[in-house]
């Protein structure tokens, strides 16, 4: 990890959240790597690793995504039975006020975890261990899902900020017209 990229000056605004954001990722990776030395049973390795990875997925999606970068994504099924992916972000001033260090940590650990799982997957592929590949596959897909979700959410947020800036005046004008007409 290149520490020269790290923004200096401010501290982490949410150290506890950052800690938990990193904790479960690191725990899953560490347990997977170290378990080969200490634990004989594949079942335990599988369940614990996947459980930690799933916890990490939940924490990133529901907690640290909200708090560290102000983004949230989810899926809904509407009245017609179609599935809709929704992206939500904080309003512009709050986003601008986000701690740079927090978001740096958020994105970098997300990418790093996915890369580590890919590396471990290649490793187990070389050794023809299909069952460990299963574990890696599950954890990797969870990481990638979060990356894809938050990246889409961030792009969405940027687009909406641009749109919002240009539309503010227009919408205010329109709403005042509507309130004038709704009295009728």
């Amino acid at each position: 990890m290149c520490f020269c990229l790290q923004p200096s000056g401010e501290n982490y605004a949410n150290p506890k959240t950052c800690f938990f954001h990193v904790l479960f990722k690191a725990a899953a990776l560490a347990f997977y790597i170290l378990s080969a030395l200490f634990v004989n049973s594949f079942v335990i390795i599988f369940v614990v690793t996947v459980f930690l990875a799933a916890l990490d997925f939940w924490v990133v999606k529901n907690v640290s995504g909200r708090i560290l970068v102000g983004l949230r994504w989810w899926n809904e099924i509407d009245e017609q039975g179609e599935s809709v992916w929704k992206f939500e972000c904080l309003d512009q001033e709050s986003l601008a006020r986000m701690n740079k260090k927090d978001s740096w940590l958020f994105w970098w650990t997300l990418y790093l975890a996915a890369v580590s799982w890919i590396f471990l997957g290649v490793f187990s592929l070389i050794r023809f261990q299909a069952d460990y590949l299963l574990v890696v596959g599950v954890c990797l897909s969870l990481s990638i899902a979060n990356i894809v979700g938050f990246t889409k959410c961030r792009k969405d947020a940027k687009k909406q900020i641009q749109q919002f800036a240009t539309k503010t005046i227009a919408s205010q004008f329109a709403s005042s017209l509507q309130s004038a007409f709704s009295v009728v």
């Binding site: 605004a13 959240t17 479960f24 049973s41 594949f42 079942v43 599988f46 369940v47 996947v50 459980f51 990875a53 799933a54 916890l55 990490d56 997925f57 939940w58 924490v59 999606k61 529901n62 907690v63 909200r66 708090i67 102000g70 949230r72 994504w73 989810w74 899926n75 809904e76 099924i77 509407d78 009245e79 039975g81 179609e82 599935s83 809709v84 992916w85 929704k86 992206f87 939500e88 972000c89 904080l90 309003d91 709050s94 069952d131 299963l134 596959g137 599950v138 897909s141 969870l142 990638i144 899902a145 979060n146 969405d156 909406q160 749109q163 919002f164 539309k167 503010t168 919408s171 709403s175």
Partner: protein
């Protein structure tokens, strides 16, 4: 008269949703379907045990999504240490109204747990909404199925006297891959079902078989095992039937249902045959 300004249908959650919507969606976004919002309050009538939370209950509107393959989390144990204290900075710094972006972590946990319980009740137990299956499992989630699949795998693995790891891996892989393939089957038959909704459904319908496996693990007698497994198998099939059959063309109902029953029957045999 009321389409210009958004009049909240429920003063609590709807106004929060709409505030955010107005801030963010100046344009109708191509990915979102705004008209879907207003009908959501009628779903409050579904008998679901939601823990009363001090914040406006963001009830059905935000199911936690999940990734293409099977997994997500049991939120209970993990988030409790993470967020039993309210995250103070978020409520102070970000806006006046609470919403899912700034709610305390504990509320998120409670909401997800309540959703798991409600989905389980909707799918597995008799309830008045079974006739409208698409509406019933609207808030799919994969936490429940994940837990049930792991539980079933663990129970089978525990019951096995030899090759425990293989039993678990095979059980997990078969159930996960089976759910995905069955969903693809429905989609390829021209059925209308959402991928994750179907995965969620098939996972929840494993609940009776998981109970059956637990009982069989504790019971030694083969006759009792057969009886218990048959009952739970019938229960699982009964639970899965309305959703699957409603999703496809009536002439293709059997084509969609047969593989589901086959999968559950093979799991049942697996449970009986494990020694």
């Amino acid at each position: 008269m009321s389409h210009g300004d958004t009049i909240p249908l429920h003063p609590s959650s709807q106004s929060d949703i709409d505030e955010i919507e107005n801030l963010i969606n100046a344009d109708v976004h191509s990915a979102t379907v705004l008209p879907a919002r207003p009908p959501s309050p009628p779903r409050v009538s579904i008998p679901i045990s939601h823990s009363p939370s001090p914040l406006p209950p963001y009830q059905k509107v935000t199911p936690s999504a999940s990734p293409p393959p099977v997994v997500p989390a049991v939120p209970a144990a993990a988030a409790a240490p993470a967020g039993s204290s309210r995250i103070g900075i978020s409520s102070d710094a970000f806006g006046s109204s609470p919403d899912t972006l700034t709610e305390p972590v504990w509320d998120t946990v409670k909401r997800d747990l309540a959703r798991i319980v409600s989905n389980l009740k909707l799918v597995v137990f008799p309830n008045p909404y079974r006739e409208d299956p698409g509406r019933a499992l609207r808030d799919w989630d994969l936490w429940g199925p994940f837990f049930f699949i792991v539980f079933l795998g663990l129970t089978l693995s525990w019951s096995a006297s030899a090759k425990k790891s293989e039993v678990f891996a095979v059980a997990f892989a078969i159930l996960a891959a089976g759910a995905i393939i069955l969903t693809l089957n429905v989609l390829l038959l021209g059925g209308h079902i959402i991928f994750f909704q179907s995965l969620s459904l098939l996972g929840y319908c494993l609940f009776p078989l998981a109970i059956g496996a637990l009982i069989c693990m504790l019971e030694g007698n083969v006759i009792i095992k057969i009886v218990v497994v048959s009952v739970t198998l019938a229960w699982s099939c009964w639970a899965a039937y309305p959703f699957m059959s409603a999703a496809v063309n009536p002439r293709r109902k059997a084509l969609a249902l047969y593989p589901v029953f086959l999968m559950y029957i093979s799991v049942a045999f697996f449970i009986i045959a494990i020694d």
